[in-house]
């Protein structure tokens, strides 16, 4: 096999040299690995150099009557030696660090994506299900929760940061977590010292960091703002709590998530994430029947029967959609058994009632409820 030298080949070689190919394996230095490498190299050099200096200082100290011998005051070979050898070490140090860095900056595609917003002087994190942490919520709609050191702190390691409540960010263990960050005002920097990650949070563009916490990192970790941002910069902190996946679900999905919303609101969120592609709420025909005036009315079916759309009928249609097909619509819907629990189904029914003239007075949407946007990521309260 012959290898031809081409510019493309040179480019590939350079890419392999700097990025070690596309398969980011684990041989690059981590922050701590590189740190310790540079540290021991520096210690050896420093101790050697200072030892030499002290030895010269003692050996050649001024003594009466002794006149220093004439000696060479330059040595080109020696000069080249101590120019070239450190250069080689330094270039290696660069590569060792860069390899780890190149691996570390790109988040895996399957990462849990959290949105981080920095603003003077607090952090706010939005989860994929719309749950929000990062500020004190006076209503349960946002699902947020202030970090109360007196109540929430299970670990002596995390000390009280003054009298101020700071946000609690909960993330699952053994899961790549990507933070997509933006600032509302000035430049901040999101730093988790225990994870060795930091990145500026800019007001005009997203920046990203990611991490994957290990089992022995279960517990609380500081988050600090590292870029000076004004008066309360030193109190722009948060606690990042790494928990097992089950606990993460419990907190982020049940406690903070839309599940904690009133049933009508939760039903609207579920509609906006799971149902809206086939069912309209304004009477328009879509793949499936509209939800406008669906609840509590009788409709015709392909088997020739009429059925009353009551609670049980809707529950059956969600869990076994093929059991009865509305006239004029295809048998298209798949079952939601397993993906929607009883709380979800009853919440959807509660939402449907608000769309129907037969839904009853109790079903009127609460005044001032947040408007739901299509896409299903809005949990309200933002």
């Amino acid at each position: 096999m012959t290898t031809t030298f081409t510019m493309a080949g040179l480019g590939d070689a350079l890419i392999r040299l700097f990025f070690r190919g596309p398969s980011g394996t684990e041989i690059g230095g981590t922050a701590d690995g590189v740190f310790m490498f540079i540290f021991w190299w520096s210690v050896v050099l420093f101790v050697g150099l200072m030892g030499l200096m002290f030895w010269f200082m003692v050996k050649y100290r001024r003594r009466p009557g002794r006149i220093g011998p004439r000696s060479v005051s330059h040595n080109t070979a020696l000069e080249l030696f101590w120019t070239i050898v450190p250069t080689i070490f330094l270039v290696f140090m660069f590569f060792y660090g860069f390899w780890g860095y190149a691996d570390a900056i790109v988040a895996p595609a399957e990462s849990l994506l959290l949105d981080v917003r920095g603003q003077q002087w607090s952090w706010m994190v939005t989860y994929p299900n719309g749950a929000i942490t990062g500020k004190v919520m006076s209503t349960p709609t946002g699902g947020g929760e202030a970090y109360d050191p007196a109540r929430d702190n299970p670990q002596a390691a995390i000390k009280n940061l003054g009298a101020k409540s700071i946000p609690l960010i909960v993330v699952p263990v053994n899961t790549p977590v990507q933070l997509r960050m933006i600032s509302s005002d000035v430049i901040h920097a999101f730093w988790v010292p225990d994870f060795r990650i930091k990145f500026d949070v800019m007001p005009n563009r997203y920046t990203n960091v990611w991490f994957e916490a290990t089992e022995d990192q279960i517990g609380d970790h500081w988050v600090f703002c590292a870029e000076y941002c004004g008066q309360d910069h030193s109190e722009m902190a948060a606690v990042l709590r790494v928990v097992p996946m089950a606990q993460y679900r419990e907190v982020v999905e049940d406690k903070w998530g839309p599940k904690s919303l009133p049933p009508v609101e939760y039903g609207r969120v579920l509609y906006n994430s799971k149902c809206f592609t086939c069912h309209s709420v304004n009477g328009d025909k879509n793949t499936g029947p509209t939800w406008l005036n669906l609840y509590g009315n009788e409709h015709e079916y392909t088997d020739g029967k009429k059925r009353l759309a009551d609670d049980n009928h809707i529950r059956e249609s969600i869990l076994t959609p093929g059991a009865a097909i509305r006239l004029g619509f295809p048998n298209q819907m798949t079952t939601f058994a397993g993906s929607l629990g009883e709380h979800e189904i009853s919440s959807i029914i509660a939402y449907m009632k608000t769309l129907s003239d037969k839904g009853g007075p109790a079903a009127a949407p609460p005044a001032g409820a947040p408007a739901a946007a299509p896409g299903g990521t809005t949990g309200g309260g933002q």
Binding site: A31, F35, M50, F56, Y60, H74, G100, I197, M202
Partner: protein, 542 residues
Amino acid sequence: MTTLPAAVRQESYLAEGRTIRSWLLSVDHKRIAILYLVAITGLFVIGGFAAMLIRVHLLTPQGALVSKEEYNRLFTLHGTTMVWFFLIPSIPTVLGNFLLPLMVGARDLAFPRLNLASWYVFVAGGCVAMAAMFAGGVDTGWTFYTPYSTRFASPAVVLLLLGIFIAGFSSIFTGLNFIVTTHTMRVPGLTWLRLPLFVWSLYATSLVLVLATPVLAIVLVLLGVERLWGVGIFDPALGGDPVLFQHLFWFYSHPAVYIMILPGMGVVSEIIPCFARRPIFGYRFVAMSSLAIAVLSFLVWGHHMFVSGQSIYASMAFSILSFLVAVPSAIKVFNWTFTLRKGTIRLRTPMLYALGFVGLFTIGGLTGLFVASLPVDVHVHDTYFIIAHFHYIMVGGAVMAYLGGMHFWWPKISGRMYPEGWGVFSAVLMFIGFNLTFFPQFILGYEGMPRRYATYPAEFQVLNVLSTAGASILGVAYVAPLVYFLWSLRSPPTAAPNPWGARGLEWQTTSPPPPENFVAPPIVADTPYDYDHPAPEDPTHG
């Protein structure tokens, strides 16, 4: 030690006139150096006092002394004053002004009036800046990052920018003066490769001053324009880009780091051969490494921005260049160490400062490797690790060299010897106090304490208290030379022309020198490091 005849003393530049007017209107480089000495000492006291308040405040996690806002103003006052009004002018404007013409055998700098103008410009800039910080209160830090500085900070920030802008012209005047003087005013026989290394380092510094300072002026003007008239340059709300500011700012401010340390390297290169009685080892490498540092210093600014979202290719290039800028510094350290070999070493005060410089600068340089490395910098960026790193360079390096140089040339400047015992005492105290202040900060930063924090979590308290204890020792060590230098002025100027038996041209005239520097123009036939031939004036006292 010989006592000079009274007739010669009367002719010294100090005796030329005794009125305030004779000082303020003097175009004698030596008198202007004294004017600068007075100005920057005053500013150092202000910046140092701010540092002491900062350290006292950080004794407790909640902050022991001032409010958070006041704390933010204090570190801005400390940083701005120390960087622009002490470190950058310190060695060039005091020792450089005094010594450059003497070292090249000239009567004065090339442009004496420009030299005096530079002092007035500097003082004007200093007054405006101090007024802005004391009357208005600026809390941006010395880095003025946008959009905080242009949208949120107090309007007094514009006045502070103006002060720094004005002082920048003083830097440019001084740099131009030094470059032209070095090129055109060397006495016959003083070839480039016979120049004292202090002159080489001043020359390299001046190149950086002249090339980088205009960029600072531009960025300060752009900041002011955005702040005053809402022209969108850096603020995204106005369509600007805050990262552009960081590029422009560090394009000046990283070379500025070398403006601060290069002259100190030059001072050390003078002191070590004199007190080791050996020619400097590897003269050409030491001289050329100053130029290499000056050139490379312009190519590493992006290492301040590894977490700002700049392109990974940019970070890659800046990382490797930052590693390489360590090489010329390492060359100097190796050469200083080898200069000691086979010498006859006297550990007088200037030598203690110089050797202290080598040790502390080496720690500062080696910790620079950590921050040049991308993954490590991501962790330690904007933490106390960075604070410790650059204080090892700026205080352990530049200030130690400045004080070493002040002790070394004090007999030449004032005609008086300083008290040696007190000198040794304060040098040792300074070394101990410095390390106790700043070494704990490396650990603090790596463990997670960010910089510019008015309050901090309780787990960082022990190291902060240690650091404050060190700072108290350091404070005492700084006061001592101020007191004994002033005290020494009480006795008549009886210092010998060359009390150290040094070989530079500045030692071939009287102490203090006459207004015209040399009664007869000197002739140079060799390098200023010809210490192998015992000279008749070699001191026999230890």
